[in-house]
Symmetry: C2
Subunit: 459 residues, 2 copies
């Protein structure tokens, strides 16, 4: 079976250039530990920044610090923020990295009685007017600098730009054993899922349970009404159109849920003897292209809510309904903080504070689009014209390939549409896929764990 679009990445790509192998430890050894869990900022911290001067400004309500360096040589920290983030054992639980300071006992006008640096300039010591004492490592403060360029850098390093792709795309492939055993490969796979929205894991064992095994490298599979895993096979009285031999148009799974699962795994255990070719296309790329070429259709698909419905019984009985435009992009008005800063949200897949109104979730699925349309009569034909324009562009820009037994197709289920050609249903050697979903929260969590330098320092 030909598979010309596969390639193996030779370089680390977007991975961080400093990484510590292995899991961060679950619990710190000492209750005095404040872990340096800050995504990607390990380099500065190892510079061991020192403070050379500090003073409290009553007028500004801040402690001002001068660092032992030329660039960004000073920083300011508000009194109330310092008090709220006291690291002493009665204010903070290090093992939970959680605050015990209660808002009811916090005074927004709190003031220090005295501020000073320890002998080496490694800590800021504060005595508060009520007698409470706080002590902050210099590196900890420096990581929390309020300067606009520092804030922007922190937010930028949390997000990766999406890389849209069309019909010329090649899907990156990773060996199953490498993903299971090597943290650098795991990280590259997950970064591809974030930026490209698709990657293949190849040479997985040809047995059930491998989606769950892959998910456990991240966190766990998300259970849905179709179960923890689902089996794609031609069935009698199928609960889903996927469980037939029919052609499936390009679509995203489970758009009838407000919480649409993030990433989908489809593991080919046995391929069809004939047919069943897989197709994938980048919904974000299609949306962008549609916006340029057919702005009327784009407008309809971003504005007109469409109803999705799934009713039946599989893992549990269900009657799921969701109503949303095909191309979902959200803008939240943000007059208070800068819109540019707000756009740097950490959650590109939901509630994105995105000034450009970029799509963050696609809801295209003709199979489960409700026959009940809650749109005005005169919008019906324009909606079909727009759906057809979208579908045509999607097929014009899709890639097609045959899944081989052992291949696990992994893709962003809110972005990348998948489909398959019809195949002949036979009794022997039937086509058999197993699927599952993993939520984006846990994928980003795993990327952060892989990229975090676990750098315990006693407070």
């Amino acid at each position: 079976m030909p598979f010309p679009r596969r390639r193996i990445r030779s370089a680390l790509g977007r991975a961080s250039d400093r990484r510590v192998e292995g899991e961060p430890e679950g619990r710190p050894r000492s209750s005095e530990v404040v872990r340096g869990f800050r995504f990607g900022t390990g380099r500065e911290r190892t510079r061991k920044v020192k403070a050379i001067e500090c003073r409290a400004s009553e007028r500004d309500g801040t402690v001002q610090i001068r660092w032992d360096r030329s660039e960004r040589s000073s920083a300011e920290f508000p009194f109330v923020w310092l008090r709220d983030n006291c690291l002493c054992p009665s204010c903070f639980v290090p093992s939970a990295q959680a605050r015990l300071v209660l808002m009811e006992s916090l005074d927004p006008d709190v003031r220090p009685r005295s501020v000073h640096l320890d002998g080496e300039g490694e800590r800021l010591e504060i005595a508060w007017e009520d007698g409470h004492r706080s002590s902050y490592p210099a590196w900890w403060l420096e990581e929390r600098d309020f300067a606009p360029e520092s804030r922007e850098a922190r937010l930028r390093e949390r997000t990766n730009d999406k890389e849209p792709w069309g019909r010329e795309a090649r899907v990156p492939a990773y060996g199953y054993a490498d993903v299971m055993e090597r943290d650098d490969v795991l990280e590259r796979w997950l970064l591809d899922l974030d930026t490209l929205g698709v990657a293949l894991v190849v040479d997985a064992p040809r047995r059930t349970g491998e989606c769950a095994a892959l998910a456990e490298r991240i966190a766990f599979l998300t259970r849905t009404n179709y179960g923890r895993e689902f089996t794609v096979r031609a069935k009698a009285d199928p609960s889903n159109a996927a469980y037939t031999g029919a052609k499936l148009g390009l679509h995203l799974d489970l758009p009838y849920m407000s919480h649409m699962p993030g990433v989908q795994f489809l593991h080919c255990i046995a391929a069809a003897e004939e047919g069943g070719k897989s197709q994938l296309c980048d919904g974000f790329y299609v949306a962008e292209t549609l916006k340029e070429r057919d702005p009327d259709s784009y407008r309809i698909l971003t504005e007109l809510p469409v109803d999705y419905l799934d009713v039946g019984s599989d893992h549990v009985p269900y009657h799921l309904v969701h109503r949303a435009p095909i191309i979902q992009s959200v803008s939240i008005p943000l007059s208070f903080s800068s819109r540019k800063e707000a756009a740097l949200s950490t959650s590109p897949h939901r509630d994105r504070l995105d000034e450009k109104g970029k799509p963050y979730r696609m809801n295209y699925n003709d199979q489960v689009r409700d026959s009940c349309f809650n749109v005005p009569l005169e919008s019906v034909k324009p909606l079909y014209v727009a759906l057809k324009a979208f579908n045509t562009l999607a097929y014009d820009n899709c890639i097609g390939f045959y899944l081989k037994p052992g291949d696990v197709m992994t893709f962003d289920n809110r972005r990348v549409l998948h489909g398959r050609e019809a195949y002949e249903v036979k009794k022997s050697g039937e086509r058999h896929l197993e699927g599952g979903y993993v939520d984006w929260d846990y994928i980003y969590s795993r990327i952060r764990l892989l990229r975090t330098i676990n750098f315990p320092l006693s407070s």
Copy 2:
């Protein structure tokens, strides 16, 4: 222990007045069945509407039907919509309630060659220009009427208005055995969770596993980084501030996730000998009140994104981050369809198309608010002033009570804040709660299943 705020509902309340007991069947008996799964419209359907006249209008591109009744005596259905929703076995899978018609083969300009009614006026029969034939039950068409009042009625019956509450609220209570055995009680409990955001289930067995048992009446527990269930007990090196004896300020769980679990169950297996009083308040009510009394603070809390962070290891290792305003309300511009109609979204807890910008998710949790603030320096003190104003209003409007062993506190985790007073940690008879989460998608699904008249009709 006094518990004055509990009351037992005596009436059905908001439940539908027609209901069929028991689960809808998982699979229809015949592949010809088109199930009448339409939330709450059973009454009209049993009227057995008949068509008395039909005609195709080339000019309008619709089939126009006259019904055998005086009110809403006619309806129009677009040609392309009719073709897309053909119910024949090659276009539709009844057991999956899924469409097999592919968008690529659908012609938006499709036209019928002939339309007619069957002898009794119970079906519309269409022969298309390409020779394909479709047949639609009259009741099925009438349920999908495009008239504005019909569309609005369909959307309205899908949503329940929220009922905000303050310190005078009484929490409805349901017996565990009733919830487990009676579908009418199950439905009332879930409707209270939707409208009030809180209810007690009392007299549950004092053992672990009961959150999962309750969840299985709905669907299943949502697994998180803290496990499928989590145990609230004072622990050494706690992974969460809840696992200490400390006072916990009013908060919502897991705001560091883009997908924040929907409803929380907290089952009291053993109470503290002293202390540990529970508190609850309605975040939507607090937000509304704040908007009236302190619009500046309200504006800050709806506009300024706040970072949440949870790092550690429990059920799995995690480094979870989410950035969102404390009071989250979303508006999606909807110039194409009517904004009023768009506001009638089915998913009040996410992506709500709400013209009024009402809150749909609260993110207040001082324990896990990141010490790293990605906001301008000059916004820091105003943010604390606003947080304090919110917190003060929350305590002014909270209800407090002691959980008894066997009580399961159930509440909307995106709306209702919970907290507890400190308690003394003792070795014997220690306080022991078990908790879990259920997603809103599955709660609404269960409500629909309970309220749907399963009314199989052959197509």
